[in-house]
């Protein structure tokens, strides 16, 4: 079986090399049949990658430990679902997943666009194939998942902290996001190569970018929630390099999603857009590199590996390729129109972009700082949480405010009267909310208070948009209120989907800002003793031990009450997993009690369980933290609305691009 897997990867590599070389030649010389052949080779490459992935998946399901990779990441007692998720538990499998998703996306992209914007798409296939060559080469020559050995009796197993539904979903979502950014990148490069630098590449890739971006966002929130409930230190994001690696392309892609609207509507920012999409793509490769190379000290310490230099070379090629193309095509990237006023939607979108990119680059700077300082000063210097928190506030708070202004302000030039009409109520409401919060004691954290005031402003502005739109729709079509709302959203999916995503980001901001108001208490308790924090009282009743097939569990049984009223029991403890191996397989199991009405969590960490039955607890009260997870659902919902196929939009675009002399349609 291993031979089949290895052969399939060699075939993939061959097909991708062919698609790159033949595709480029065909595009440059306008050979249509050869271009078709290159496209088919790319689609076939997906087929052979599926075969390779199938072989590895079968190896996991059959517990075929003659495959070294399977033996390292699985064992016999592992559940079927976790056997499959062990597929991406290590480096080689992760690379294979990358290649699988990349060739899948590539095949779909060239197939869906086969009859559209041909002069552009002929260049897309070789660019995508070129990226795939890099990964296929790594899998064939450097890090093969199909190395064989004399089969041991059992495998090493999957780390217990990864035996969790979140860990099954989190990596694939991130990869769907990372890899998905390759498609808009390839279209942008295709536009430059073909000289078709109008906005067709943007229209053709809008949904691709949205899908990748949504997957990246959902993937990160899944990871954050996993860290919150499973890793259990009371937080969800630690500004670790590997976490930042996913955040940076997300920020760049967010900037891109906004700035392309300016190019679509006003023909501006053409250079900026290709730079952004190249940045987002290169950061996604950089993210994979960071995760896999061990070059930066990270709490996500993956096994150090030999693929670091290869990835560095890959990033270098990608950056050089994109830079060369952009410089070469600069004359074609002139704006059709110019910015007329600093108070207009274009201008606000520009501010938003600058803030997002500034945030992204300061994070990049923080991640790269240990490497740079080592090179320059000889000592490795790390920057920590204060650095990142500082810049999140400096750049994030204005971004939050702009979210309430950008979508509502007029294009080209906003008048004072128009501004007053749009923003008077949101302004008054936010000031009122700010004052009430100040009176209730929220002034203990100034950034928190600012965040909440801005959040109120954005929510009010969005609510007003929905109310005005619905009222107009109702007057126009004499529908019922819900009917009018429904058709309002249905007829403007991009706009209202976007608003809903903005609501999600506001929820996220509220949840994150809530951490400024956390309360914490800690102490050693003997059975019968209790700790008090923020109105809660946590009584430690007794320690119980349980034995399950997978782990020996110790649990402290607690009784939670608030303001004298008993709320109910809670458990927190530790699991000792019954897995042989070099790692101590103990994990803390935190106790979380959620108040679904206020979004507040009581979060109990059993820090240390002593032999005499006493337990050292650390207990947090985390107001509003659940809004972060709620934001995930709202985010997904809004994205799906913005993504949903819209026949009206397709017709509008078709007309527009026939006028422009092309036949592209949004995909």
């Amino acid at each position: 079986m291993a031979e089949l897997g290895r052969a399939a990867l060699v075939v993939t590599l061959g097909l991708c090399v062919y698609a790159t070389v033949a595709g480029s030649y065909a595009a440059a010389r306008r050979r249509r049949r050869l271009a078709g052949s290159a496209r088919n080779a790319l689609i076939a490459a997906f087929g052979s990658t599926v075969v390779a992935a199938g072989v590895l998946a079968a190896g996991f399901l059959r517990s075929d430990f003659s495959l070294t990779y399977v033996a390292q990441h699985s064992n016999r007692t592992l559940g079927r679902a976790y056997k499959l998720s062990a597929f991406w538990g290590g480096q080689e499998g992760s690379l294979l997943l990358w290649l699988l998703i990349l060739t899948g996306y590539a095949a779909l992209a060239v197939w869906l666009n086969r009859n559209r914007a041909r002069d552009l798409v002929v260049w897309v296939a070789p660019v995508l194939a070129g990226i795939a060559v890099g990964f296929a080469f790594l899998l064939v020559a450097v890090a093969s998942p199909f190395d064989v050995q004399a089969a041991p009796a059992d495998g090493a197993g999957l780390n217990p902290s990864l035996q969790n539904p979140y860990m099954m979903a989190h990596p694939p979502f991130l990869y769907l996001g990372y890899v998905g950014l390759a498609v808009p990148f390839a279209f942008a490069m295709g536009a430059l190569l073909s000289g078709r630098t109008d906005e067709r590449w943007i229209v053709a890739t809008r949904r691709w970018t949205l899908v990748a971006w949504t997957a990246l966002g959902v993937g990160q929130l899944l990871g954050a929630h996993w860290a919150y409930v499973e890793v259990g230190w009371g937080g969800y994001y630690a500004w670790d390099p590997v976490e930042n690696a996913a955040l940076m392309p997300f920020l760049a892609a967010t900037a891109f999603l906004h700035s392309v609207m300016i190019q679509e509507k006003r023909g501006m920012l053409k250079v900026w857009n290709v730079v952004l999409v190249a940045l987002a793509f290169c950061l996604s490769i950089f993210g994979t590199f960071l995760t896999r190379s061990g070059v930066v000290n990270s709490i996500h310490s993956f096994s150090e590996s030999n693929i670091g230099p290869w990835f560095l070379a890959f990033i270098f090629v990608a950056v050089a390729f994109a830079t060369t193309l952009i410089v070469w095509r600069l004359p074609l990237l002139r704006s059709k129109t110019r910015l007329e006023s600093l108070v207009s939607r274009e201008a606000v979108f520009l501010y938003n972009n600058l803030l997002l990119v500034a945030l992204c680059l300061t994070i990049l700077w923080g991640v790269a700082w240990p490497i740079l300082s080592e090179a320059v000063r000889g000592t490795t210097v790390v920057v920590g949480r204060p650095y990142y928190d500082f810049f999140l506030r400096i750049f994030g708070l204005p971004l939050l405010l702009l979210m309430g202004i950008g979508p509502m302000i007029a294009w080209r030039r906003a008048s004072l009267r128009g501004l007053g009409r749009t923003f008077l109520w949101p302004f008054l409401i936010s000031v009122a909310v700010g004052l009430v919060l100040l009176w209730r004691g929220a002034g203990s954290s100034v950034p928190g208070l600012i965040a909440y005031t801005f959040s109120a402003f954005v929510l009010a502005a969005i609510a007003l948009e929905f109310i005005r739109g619905t009222r107009a729709r109702k007057a126009l079509a004499s529908e019922s209120w819900p009917g009018a709302l429904f058709s309002l959203i249905g007829r403007n999916r991009r706009r209202y989907g976007g608003y809903i995503v903005h609501v999600a980001i506001v929820f996220l901001a509220i949840g994150i800002a809530g951490s400024a108001y956390d309360s914490v208490v800690e102490g050693k308790l003997a059975p019968g003793q209790s700790l008090r924090v923020a109105g809660y009282s946590v009584l430690y009743q007794r320690l119980v031990e349980r034995d399950t097939p997978h782990a020996a569990e110790v649990r402290a049984q607690l009784l939670v009450s608030r303001d004298g009223k008993v709320l109910g029991p809670l458990e927190a403890g530790k699991n000792s997993f019954k897995i042989a191996g070099p790692d101590p397989q103990v994990s803390s199991e935190v106790g979380i009690r959620t108040n679904y009405l206020t979004g507040e969590d009581l979060f109990v960490i059993p820090e240390q369980i002593n032999a005499d039955g006493s337990v050292y607890f650390r207990i947090f009260v985390k107001p509003l933290v659940n809004l972060i997870w709620l934001a995930g659902f709202v985010f997904l919902f809004g994205s799906i609305i913005a993504l949903w196929p819209d026949a009206r939009e397709q017709r509008r675009l078709a007309v527009r691009y026939e006028e422009a002399g092309g036949t592209v349609r949004g995909t």
Partner: protein
């Protein structure tokens, strides 16, 4: 028609200047981060550093009462110098003899006094997202 300077350029130039100013402000206030050193390099350090090393010998004491005591050596050098560490606060699940950890703190009279809750463990053997303590 005389081409007017685009305000977009002005905005970009101004924002780059603003970002640089903020940056300088930040680094001058907060300093440039924490140096990361190995036990063998600890000798000349006087300020707060992040110490990266492997735990040797059996840890003693209680991290929540009087402090957890253990020794660290360079990860790469099994025969190298070791440094005693005293640590209080959260101990990650993965902390054990033979494990690679990072602690922040200061050398005081030959003992590395770790900052409360600053310990982070690394898992050298395989893919494993581990717990950052006390954040």
């Amino acid at each position: 028609m005389a081409r007017k300077r685009s305000p977009a350029r002005l905005i970009i130039a101004l924002s780059i200047a603003a970002v640089l100013a903020i940056f300088l402000l930040y680094t001058s206030i907060a300093g440039g981060g924490t140096p990361s050193v190995k036990p063998s390099q600890l000798g000349g350090q006087t300020g707060t550093v992040a110490l990266v090393g492997r735990v040797v010998g059996a840890p003693t004491g209680d991290a929540h009462a009087g402090g957890l005591r253990f020794r660290l050596r360079d990860v790469q050098n099994p025969k190298g110098t070791t440094v005693p560490v005293v640590y209080t606060g959260t101990v990650p699940d993965l902390f054990a003899t033979g494990r690679d950890i990072v602690v922040e703190g200061k050398l005081e009279n030959g003992t590395f006094v770790a900052t409360r809750d600053s310990m982070v463990t690394k898992c050298p053997s395989k893919y494993s997202a581990t717990k950052p303590a006390g954040q």
